[in-house]
Symmetry: C2
Subunit: 338 residues, 2 copies
């Protein structure tokens, strides 16, 4: 349990990665009460210096004893590091806020989107997990609709950017793009196939039934976050040649009918959502406009007339910020508040 203090000792595991750096920016922007900052990374990044609140902080190597005296530890370094070091952090008395998926199946670990299910935090026993980025964004957008008219089914297709594979993903898109424009062969490392000028209909590992593990996870994550066990979900996840931000094309079916204008006002009144939807003026959310934004942007809201109570819309969010780093910091804020 977190002890009440004026300021907290914060550790960031994966401090030199895309999400870790974004966390630092967000902690500064939101004036998070930090008394000391422990930046942790793998061996080869140790020694790097990173600015935070006008001071340079040295990145240290992640080791067993890294968490002594730490109040809250953000984990953004991948499955392996979370699995190995979170138990040690918790033993040291820290609350771990994890961005990996290794504790998602653990019923003792709440899966939290503070704008959606903040009360779930109360049940934690040292570990709180971020859902995957798609579940964070979809959960945020669907929550007010579910509360209003009852969600029955969600069909979603994603347009996910390369930044979910961190710097390596972004560099791969840039390198392949330059190579192709110069009529050279492309190298693939971060992704299984060429991503420049191509879409890859597969995110995660493929399972026996044809779904990927990420697609399968979304269904249970959404149900947990929305606290809606009966919601049925069908998702197709696609990687697109975009550097940052993800989009999702969504069709939902609800228990009772929601008129478009009502849907717009219900969404606009909910936390973490911006309705950006004026077709007549060619306004709808675009990935290029959404980098660095905190909210989930919703547009192209329209009736899905192919079913009794259907609604269709398009959401865009910054997968690094809203889909990951911001959610972790919001969990920490909610933890302090509670």
């Amino acid at each position: 349990m977190l002890k009440r203090k004026d300021k907290y000792v914060i550790a960031i595991v994966g401090a030199t990665g895309t999400v870790g750096r974004e966390m630092m920016e967000i902690l500064q922007e939101r004036k998070f009460p930090v008394s000391d900052l422990i930046l942790l990374a793998s061996d080869h990044s140790a020694g790097e210096r990173i600015e935070f609140s006008g001071r340079n902080w040295t990145v240290r190597q992640l080791v067993k004893d890294s968490f002594s005296g730490v109040d809250m530890a953000f984990f953004a370094a991948g499955d392996e590091q979370s699995l190995k070091f979170i138990p040690l952090a918790v033993k040291s008395g820290a609350v771990a806020i994890d961005s990996s998926r290794v504790f998602h199946a653990d019923k003792m670990v709440p899966l939290v989107v503070p704008d959606v299910n903040p009360r779930a935090i109360g049940s934690h026993r040292g570990i709180i997990a971020n859902p995957g980025s798609v579940a964070i964004a979809l959960g945020t957008a669907l929550k007010p609709l579910h509360d209003k008219v009852g969600l029955e089914r969600v069909v979603a297709t994603t347009f996910q950017s390369v930044s979910e594979s961190g710097k390596a993903g972004q560099e791969e898109l840039a390198h392949q793009t330059v190579a192709l424009l110069n009529f050279q062969d492309v190298e693939t490392k971060a992704f299984l196939h060429q991503i420049a000028f191509n879409c890859i209909p597969r995110i995660g590992n493929l399972l026996e039934d044809g779904y990927t593990d990420e697609e399968a996870a979304l269904e249970s994550e959404l149900r947990k976050v929305l606290e809606a066990d009966a919601v049925r979900v069908a998702v197709t996840m696609v990687r697109v040649p975009v550097f940052r931000c993800a989009a999702v094309s969504v069709n939902i079916e609800t228990r009772t009918k929601l008129e478009i204008n009502e849907a717009r006002s219900v969404l606009a009144a909910a936390p973490g959502i911006v309705v950006f939807d004026d077709p007549a003026r060619s306004l709808y959310p675009l990935q290029m406009d959404t980098a660095g934004k905190d909210d989930v942007y919703v547009g192209r809201i329209r009736e899905d007339r192919s079913v009794a109570n259907g609604l269709s819309f398009w959401i865009v969010y910054d997968n690094i910020r809203k889909g990951s780093a911001l959610n972790s910091v919001q969990i920490a804020e909610e933890l302090i508040r509670q």
Copy 2:
């Protein structure tokens, strides 16, 4: 009506465009019986020379009298030219095969995908229309499933390439990509928004109800082509930064249940379809692999468990070839056969 001959006088309106050039390639590949070729284009392209069957042909300016002696005229120059010149071509005795959408509402004009509804050709009165590219590809993929288990509802989200806006679209993607990689501002002309490293959730003109005219058209086109008036369709069309080929993420609901393996064999046995679906070996259709291909590629076939009789899959096709030029030539072939 087409008179039976050994070889035909063919006119191509829009001969210098992306689709027009593809038609010429396809006519040669398929050894289409051409006795004379009349290449037509706007004023500023007239005089260009294009090779066909080992001979150079001069592009002529499209005028009122261009169709004298023509047996079949392919129109691939846009709405305005089709509207103005197709009646003249028909008056001259030619059968017009149109790629624009201006005659789609005309009940006297059959909308034909030869692999799907070849008999509809019989009813023509001088004009036969190509459906839009998405309807051609989706119609091809859905036809065998509809015949087998009865299609009730289709939810689709598209990933459409810039080549649908012809050379201008492809040049815009290339120019914007280079500009962005050099930290320069981008210019937008062919599309309403930046397309490089961005997805645009709007294809066509936006209507009052929030759909675009292209999205709205797909529903009626699919119903016509599948000869299935009761099929319900919900589509979201998205432009992606890919040079050529389109992909569609599809969820369908059918009257009776179709097991995955059965779906695979039904699809594989149908004309115009290649099942390319081996998740274990990371095989699924990709836009980068599909340029220049004649078939609709179907992969990631899986059960959609969020509904009673649900199926989900991913299709990829060459929008210039299968989605347009090839379909026109196949209509002409079918016309000769009948």
